[in-house]
Symmetry: D3
Subunit: 253 residues, 6 copies
């Protein structure tokens, strides 16, 4: 099968890192294609950045229509609902993926993310998904997203310290890493802290493979119905939903 992993920000090094994490998690018959938009923010840190990433996500989906599943590689599951409207294939956000998987191996988990400004969006997602009661606390480590790419930064130790606090103070039985850029830290931190530490990229790849193997598609009744045919103005005209698009990707590139 083929999975398109979309890094919603425009930083190519992070796309490469997320693609690598996805490939490591993928089964032998799964091809991973990792892309990022050409237009938008270099990192997503809060509500403002988020909204400028979504049109690019849909553009990348429209450029890659022959996929079996899509993964959105930002922990706040940027544009997830819109992306699901655009296709019958499964679309998985790495945030939701990690929340669901953590719920299968722990009574409650804590999230360790980057900056405090990213916490409210994650908390809203947890409420929306229904899993807020399973999350003990969403914690910020005060590590900016792109510091995770810098060789000499103390990002790793600050994240580890925050995990220690989550286990001691929250009663967290597992930890969810709250940023795609932390994907390579999960195994090492699991060893260090004695509780499962989950990376959403790997979780999302396995869930996408699972849904595909079971022949399950995004429901086209209700929330994720295909968009009504209409003509978008200006810059977004190429993404206008059309009746001809049928049940596959509805927006043309």
């Amino acid at each position: 099968m083929r999975i398109l992993v979309i890094n919603p920000n425009t930083t190519a090094s992070m796309t490469a890192k997320i693609g690598k994490a996805a490939s490591l998690a993928a089964a032998s018959g799964t091809d991973i294609l990792a892309v990022n938009p050409q237009d938008g923010p270099p990192s997503i840190e809060g509500y403002f950045d988020e909204v400028f990433a979504v049109p690019g996500i849909i553009t990348e989906m429209a450029r890659n229509r022959d996929m079996d599943a899509y993964v959105i590689g930002c922990f706040d599951d940027t544009g997830l609902d819109a992306a699901r409207c655009a296709t019958t294939a499964p679309v998985i956000g790495i945030g939701e993926a990690a929340f669901h998987m953590a719920s299968l191996i722990a009574g409650k988990f804590s999230v360790v993310t980057t900056l405090a400004r990213s916490v409210p969006a994650i908390e809203h997602n947890l409420v929306k998904y229904g899993l807020a009661s399973r999350c003990a606390r969403v914690r910020a480590s005060d590590v900016p997203v792109l510091d995770l790419e810098k060789p000499g930064s103390d990002a790793r130790s600050r994240i580890s310290d925050e995990i220690a606090r989550a286990v001691a103070e929250d009663g967290a039985e597992a930890i969810v890493l709250g940023c795609a850029g932390m994907a390579d830290l999960a195994n090492q931190l699991t060893q260090a802290h004695g509780v499962p530490v989950l990376d959403g990229v790997a979780c999302a790849v396995k869930l996408a493979e699972s849904l595909h193997a079971l022949g399950l598609h995004t429901s086209k009744v209700g929330s994720y119905a295909a968009p009504r045919a209409k003509r978008f103005a200006g810059f977004y005209a190429p993404l206008s939903p059309s009746v001809e698009a049928g049940e596959g990707i509805v927006a043309a590139s």
Copy 2:
């Protein structure tokens, strides 16, 4: 004071209608400027359309920095969180405005909106705002947004029928009209049904005036902190948040 009322879709006739409704509600010292984006969908009907409207909302805010308050004129409060990050002025969504006002005059209310596909986003907003327990039910009248602009349509009677069902079946004590395009129907429907029928455009204007009169600004601590300075790529480069922007509109046009 000056309020920018932003119709997030690109249909000028609806912008005019919303602007007129806002002006009718405005106090004598309030100037209403109604605008819409140049890029984006002609109507917002579900999650897919919504995300293509938000960059244009921010663009319009950046073009109109010297405002005292902003109103987002789409009932799903499109891009509200991002818009609040972009300014210290109050930003009011017409959906939330109507929910809060209805909560002051009725024990519980029902919402009557356009299409079924718009219901989940409204339900999610109610949960996010905390007011889900005050809403008896979100109902769809199966009237497409732009039919509200067509002279000969039966839109009016279908909305009225749905209100009657809400009062009889849900125990609704007030009705919130779930689309900016219904703004001109509120008074007439209040008379017809004997319960308060609220239009979000008018409610939002009064709340914006109230916050301004009280000297209250959008909090810049936490959820709506100003975006971190960074350079957006491609089409969105002009909206890149910068340190120089200070505490006003942070994104330059």
Copy 3:
């Protein structure tokens, strides 16, 4: 328009203070009349005091029937439901007013009130209104209500200290002052703490003006239906609801 601001306790100096705060918030065409009951407690500190204030609130409403709106000037919104049954005019509690306004400018807020014994009633109101999820914490400053009237007290600094803790520990993005007697402190505390600090009296006046301007009335279907005609015994006989009262104030003075 004319707004009756009812201080539910019998302390005239507090009535004057609340009336002044209301007048300062009022628009140019708004007349404020501030009153208090003749019978009842000199301050409301907990459930016991509260119930002895409500008959006097209704009495004051019955004495002032030709009003366009009513504001109940005690932060626990004493008797709000009963007062709404008594009139078709809008009735606003200062607690709910501040909660709704804070929800428009902050992701979450904390409340700073007087004594610990007042906390449970405020928490119950938040649950009842639906806004409990927006409130990080209700905090007591251990300042008795009438100490706010005493020149030499340290009330001001204790409230300010509690606000500092709310911002640091609760992640509060705005502060709601939890007592009508704190109305004069809001602006100064906003400056001191760098987050919006809201006073319910001013918020309630603006919401009352807004509802009046929009022609919105208290719904008479369901929760706030006019009382059934019946004859009250003894002391309360003058407030007996009668059929003749029609849709205005139903209880005669």
Copy 4:
């Protein structure tokens, strides 16, 4: 032990009926004294009536200080919180009593009360007590309270019909009768419908006896702390809380 059963309305025939129901439920060593206020409404039907009954409840408690427990005989648990502040003895509302008892013998229950206007207060109580998730639905039978006292009324059959609907439509496993005036119908309706039908008066008596036997008192820390000493004005002066009152009834008659 001695239990004061307070009918909050002024209708003596209903006081007698409630007193009889309480006596039938009481253990051999329990003395029931049934009283009602001299001032207030002849029946409690909605929020307006309710608030005029509470001062009279406290007055009756102050007149009968040497009691081991108090039962408030109105299904909306009128004045329960204030009454608990006034004494260290247990105070039980008949609504809460029935909800708790029903939760011990059924997965979920429905309430059948009198008029639609009484429903919101009951729903609020269920949320406040925490038991809303155990209640399938609060139903109105459209029987006014005092019709329950009239020999020829069809009150009985309308209540029975509503119970039948609750079992069939709500999946109710037990029924709570939502008015003190229905106390004498419980056994007969249990037989007729094949599910437990609970009367709150009897439930409250048994819970009061139970708490007394276990030596459990109303907590004086937090919500139900004794009122602060202060002088009430006018009509309520005799009920002013005073330091001398100690831990018993704090308000003197």
Copy 5:
């Protein structure tokens, strides 16, 4: 009346202690019979132990069919739902009994139990019963169950210390002791801490007596319907539900 008090673990000394606590709480006409299963764990500390206690609980019920009520003497209310299916008599768990009684005398309570591993099951029960909002916190004292039986242990002081923290930090207005083995400590701890401290065994006995006196039975409609007739295999064959069992204990010993 006759109450069977079932200690779900196999430790006879604890059965004796629970039986004694039950007898002390029982009214003069109530006979207490305390038993424990022959098969199962010597103490119940977490989810694993719990499931091996339940078949023995049903066995003891089947051996003692002529009872008027059953009490399950383990704080996690082991097997409560299954036991309710097995009889029309009331079945009370000591955990739920204490939660309901505490809700009648305090705004909120905290639970002090034995080991941290027992906390999640208690929290789940509180959610299931609906009373989670009444519980400030479930605390572990790190005292293993059987240490409560050892003369020289410091169990008592550790429990007392945890209660002190609950009052100071949680704002608990009452304390529920979270283990049947703590039954003899309640009175002493009430004196020491100045807030009501509740033992579930005593509470359950009084609730069982109350339901019996009121003629209330476990509903056989819905959740607790009698099991369908079928033949269990192997060890559990003697407990197979049969049609002949009628409405009494359905499983034969």
Copy 6:
């Protein structure tokens, strides 16, 4: 990898059916071993039957220690918490598996199960897992479990009819089949109704494979900590948890 699929009831034909469904879902490198207890009920229909199946589940786990994951093949996730305490390998219930997978492809889903008596346990699980807000309704088709095994029964059409009602009345966007015995119907019903229809057995196999591939284990901190070493009495002695068992299956057969 090796997955032990445990049918908690003793009906071998259903074990074979579940094993076949699991094998069809399994990846090429996955070995499925399907077993059932020797002691216990032939089908699980409600709370009573459930508790007699759990010791047998643990026994089968103890007999098959060298597994990489365990699947509990009953829709009410019988004994899931206890089973998780018994091993470090992942343990997946088919109910939770289907709920989580449905949440990834639909805004909300309904469950169609067998008998009404099974509904409350499923509803409790949904609340416990946190996913109750994602479930529109749990519906009973009134088909007894073992009727699904009978050639001539109308089980299939009754389930299909109930699905049609769920889509029309509940707004369900996907359907979860609420019994392991329905596993073979999912694909056909998906075709018939135009919405995804999920079978929990297949979902659980994929989730078990996913967790194993990611190296994720059941957390041993908190809820699912290994049982404390102790000696069980009588029939359960062979399952006594012991220190020597280490972190694998702790209970010996």
